[in-house]
């Protein structure tokens, strides 16, 4: 084949270079042959034994989730050890029998578990999967005692999410659970495998990528009964990152105690920074129940409870604001120059529009009131008048700017915006024109308007700061798994061009509500000037009669609101309380706000004294 002439025509340098590669390749081939000789001839006995018994098992060591701290560094979500029941599909000899035996001691869904085991037997037979979590000591001892008759099942110590404050932080922290198939599929590059724990709700969900660690694992050699005999290899898990929240656990505790027996929400915020100091929604649930694996009947009870414990009422519940909107109307009137604050309106107990009569909450009427008195006494007739004189679009625009009817972006899942109606909404959505009666009702926060408590809080914080709308902040600092620190400084969302004297007037009037024989006297604090506004959102009207809310059945009782801030001169805390079917704002909601503020200033004083230490 290789004639002389052709050979001379080739480039000898290229040929020699190709020769070099050939030698390198040959060397590597020989290396592989050597390796094969080592594996297949020298170590044959060792691998044959392993192969015959298929004795390498894999034990997942689940990574502990990162810690969540309150503003002082108190852990509000942490990790504890728990005894879990693990099944290794390949070692199970009698699946139905084993599950029946275990079913006598441990609670689980036998159908679901056996389905999983059968599935995993095909794909990952050497890998353990969790049957039940957080077993009690008696259960563990019974299972350990019967090990011989339960091949393939074993007890392992695993990391369990634990919430030391139980239901107190339920709606902030949320809860965790096993990753669903969709979540595993959606994880893409992130390693997420069956049985991994992920956040399902609250911060656990929204901050899930920070909190989740990296699983470790052990490869163990087991004996014929599936018991661990020798550790072949181990990789330690990595704990997830830490999250520092702005919540004050002590304030949260008081807020929760105040609300424990009722349904509704209390939120406390620093209006200057937007820091959420307390955030309670009740009724709550115990997130610990989800960590150990919630039972079906527990779940059904939670979902079917008419008071909706799984709903975060602070940002998923929307309610008619009632009289709490009055300061915003007054402010619109001042900003637009529609009403002189000194101008008076006579309240005789009702307001007439055509042939419709709108009643004041005070049957006998307030007599002659100016703007200050009208806010302090929450006179409905004054605000019916104001509502009918103001351009509804101007009112809506000011309310939205302040934060009502728009999501605040606090960073918890499922935040609703609520609705602040204007003429465009009426025209486009309701396909109807704006009637004078709409304006009148708007004056007292009834009608189509409905807002979330956090939206209302944002509005009062804007009044407290004089138009500086801060984004509510729950997370102040994140330390990721690798040690990188991320700070989340306070963020101003917008600065509203309100005239300082107008806001000052409103603040003064709100101080009057609490301190000048107004409707919010129950929120008064000794030594600190509190300002605020009551609200009572009517659900039903009973024709021609004034019925005290307390005398109505629970489901149709009025919602009680109170929004307040203190100290009025330089507000540093702003609190909203919304109590579903609580009755009057002044009697039901104001005391809750008072209790939270009192605790806030007490804690501040304690810290001030402690500061000298």
């Amino acid at each position: 084949m290789r004639g002389r002439i052709r050979k001379r025509e080739q480039d000898p340098w290229i040929v020699s270079r190709i020769r070099i590669l050939q030698w390198i390749g040959l060397g590597l081939f020989l290396l592989l042959l050597g390796r094969l000789y080592w594996l297949q001839v020298v170590k044959y006995e060792y691998f044959r034994t392993l192969s015959e018994n298929n004795r390498i098992r894999i034990r997942v060591v689940r990574a502990p989730r990162g810690v969540i701290l309150d503003r002082r560094g108190v852990p509000i979500a942490e990790t504890q050890g728990s005894f879990d029941l693990i099944a290794t599909p390949v070692d199970i000899q009698d699946l139905a029998g084993g599950l029946r035996l275990l079913g006598e001691v441990v609670e689980f869904d036998p159908e679901e578990i056996s389905g999983k085991i059968i599935l995993e037997k095909k794909t990952n037979p050497f890998r353990g999967l969790t049957v039940a979590r957080d077993l009690r000591f008696e259960q563990v001892s019974v299972i350990e005692f019967n090990r011989e008759s339960l091949p393939g099942f074993s007890i392992m110590v695993e990391a369990k999410r634990s919430y030391p404050f139980g239901p107190e932080f339920a709606h902030i922290l949320g809860y965790v659970g096993e990753a669903s198939e969709q979540e595993i599929a959606a994880a893409r590059g992130e390693r997420l495998s069956m049985g991994d724990i992920v956040g399902k709700y609250g911060l656990e969900k929204t901050m899930g990528d920070v909190l989740r660690g990296v699983n470790g694992g052990r490869q163990v050699e087991v004996d014929a009964a599936g018991r661990d005999k020798r550790l072949v290899d181990e990789i330690a898990p990595r704990t997830g990152g830490t999250i520092q929240t702005t919540i004050d656990a002590e304030l949260q505790k008081v807020a929760f105690q105040e609300m424990e027996k009722r349904a509704g929400s209390v939120i406390a915020m620093n209006p200057k920074t937007g820091d959420i100091l307390a955030f309670v929604s009740t009724p709550a649930f115990d997130p610990n129940a989800f960590s150990r694996g919630i039972r079906k009947e527990e779940w059904t009870a939670l979902v079917e409870d008419p008071r909706k414990p799984m709903q975060n009422k602070g940002l998923q519940g929307t309610y008619a604001p009632g009289s709490t909107v009055k300061p915003f109307l007054a402010l619109t009137a001042l900003e637009e120059g529609v009403m002189n604050p000194k101008a008076t309106v006579f309240c005789g107990g009702s307001f007439r529009l055509g042939n419709r009569v709108f009643r004041c909450w005070k049957e006998k009427g307030h007599g002659t009131v100016d703007m200050y008195r009208a806010i302090v006494q929450s006179c409905d007739v004054y605000f019916y008048t104001l509502g009918s004189r103001l351009d509804p679009d101007r009112v809506a625009s000011l309310e939205r700017d302040a934060g009502l009817g728009v999501p605040t972006g606090v960073g918890l899942p499922g935040e609703k915006s609520g609705l602040v109606p204007d003429t465009a909404w009426k025209r486009v959505v309701m396909k109807d024109r704006w009637y004078a009666a709409d304006s009148v009702l708007l004056g007292i926060g009834q009608g189509a308007i409905h807002v979330t408590p956090i939206g209302m809080l944002s509005g009062y914080a804007a009044i407290a700061t004089g138009g500086e709308v801060m984004r509510p902040r729950l997370v102040s600092r994140v330390v990721r798994m690798d040690g990188t620190v991320e700070e989340f400084p306070p963020r101003e969302q917008r600065k509203l061009p309100w005239k300082p004297e107008n806001v000052e007037f409103i603040r003064h009037a709100l101080a009057g509500v609490v301190n000048d024989y107004g409707t919010g006297g129950a929120a008064r604090l000794p030594g600190i000037e509190v300002g605020g506004k009551t609200g009572t959102a009517q659900l039903v009207t009973v024709k021609g009669k004034m019925i005290k809310s307390e005398h109505l059945p629970y489901e149709i009782r009025d919602h009680a609101w109170f929004a307040g801030f203190a100290p009025v001169a330089d507000p540093e805390i702003c609190v909203i309380a919304m109590i579903e079917h609580g009755g009057h704002g002044g009697s039901a909601a104001a005391p809750v706000v008072k209790a939270v503020m009192q605790e806030y200033f007490r804690l501040k004083q304690v810290a001030g004294k402690g500061g000298g230490r």
Partner: protein
Amino acid sequence: MSAPQRFARVDWPVFLLALVLCGVGLLNVYSGTRVFSSSGIPLFYRQLVWILLGAGFFFFFSFLGPGVIEEMAWRIFIAVVALLLVVLLVGKVRGGAQRWLSLGFFNFQPSELAKIALVLVLGSFFSEMYNYGGIGLRDLMPAVAITLVPFLLVAMQPDLGTAGVFLLILAAMMVIACVRGKVFLLAGVMGAAAVPGLWFLMKDYQKQRVLTFLDPGRDPLGAGYHVIQSKIAVGSGGFLGKGYLHGTQGSLRFLPEQHTDFAFAVFSEEWGFVGSVVLLLLFLALVSRMAYLASRSQDRFASFACGGIASYFLAHILINIAMVCGLFPVVGIPLPFVSYGGSSMLTNMMALGILANLSRTRFTFPPAETRPLSV
């Protein structure tokens, strides 16, 4: 040229060696997948179809006229780079990486094709640059730039294993194209210096990612577990093997990739050391034949491209078997002709066809003014 003439001029040793390897692979796919109850056409038949289609590709490319492949090199490369971009944008995600283009009937992996395209383009570039003093550093830079394009696109999928093959191809072709020895020295020093420098600049989580890429054995639950099981499979095969269809590790489905990347483990368990040696010798013969064809050619482009293709096969064979034997981190590199897979079979057959085509250039004598003989 008549059909018999064309067939007479095909490089039969290369093709027959490939067919034998395909046969081995086919038997192995059957053994590795017979316990699967996968829906649709069994993988055995699918692989058979890929082999037949592949043979078609082989003849198509080996029958192309002289000079056509060199002319097409750049266009193929640009098309493949476009495909890689498409994959990044709309590719199918499987196992956390975006590597596949769904064509309905099968998922095509353009990164396989990119390796061949790179070989052709580098071959074309180096044959222009070649001089008797050896290619210097400045002349080499465009080649590095060319290689970085598919390298980065594939690394972003992310598939660092395949991306690494691009660098190996570049390195091998630098050797063949007579890049100056000093340049290799410099590249070696720079590479050695860059690694700790990069390492120092990277953030902790990036390091973790790179480590997991380079050594998925760090994840004892996934890839690391596969390697242990794969070593058990190979080792328990012993000297003579457990016999065809008698492999136990394989039938217990210890590996989800046992018919693709870990095919050699199934083979080695059933055929033992003897079978493995025979398979290695077949591969050695294939690569040697390719190297022979490369060094025999008088056309520089043909020499370089054939050498590149030989290096491509060599890299795949060595990396895959080393990985199965636990000598190399787990990367998604299939064993040519033996692993199941359409993209890889078609690409390999195409590469072989191109090699057969180019190796023929020594018989053709194009007009002197267009193709001067190198003397």
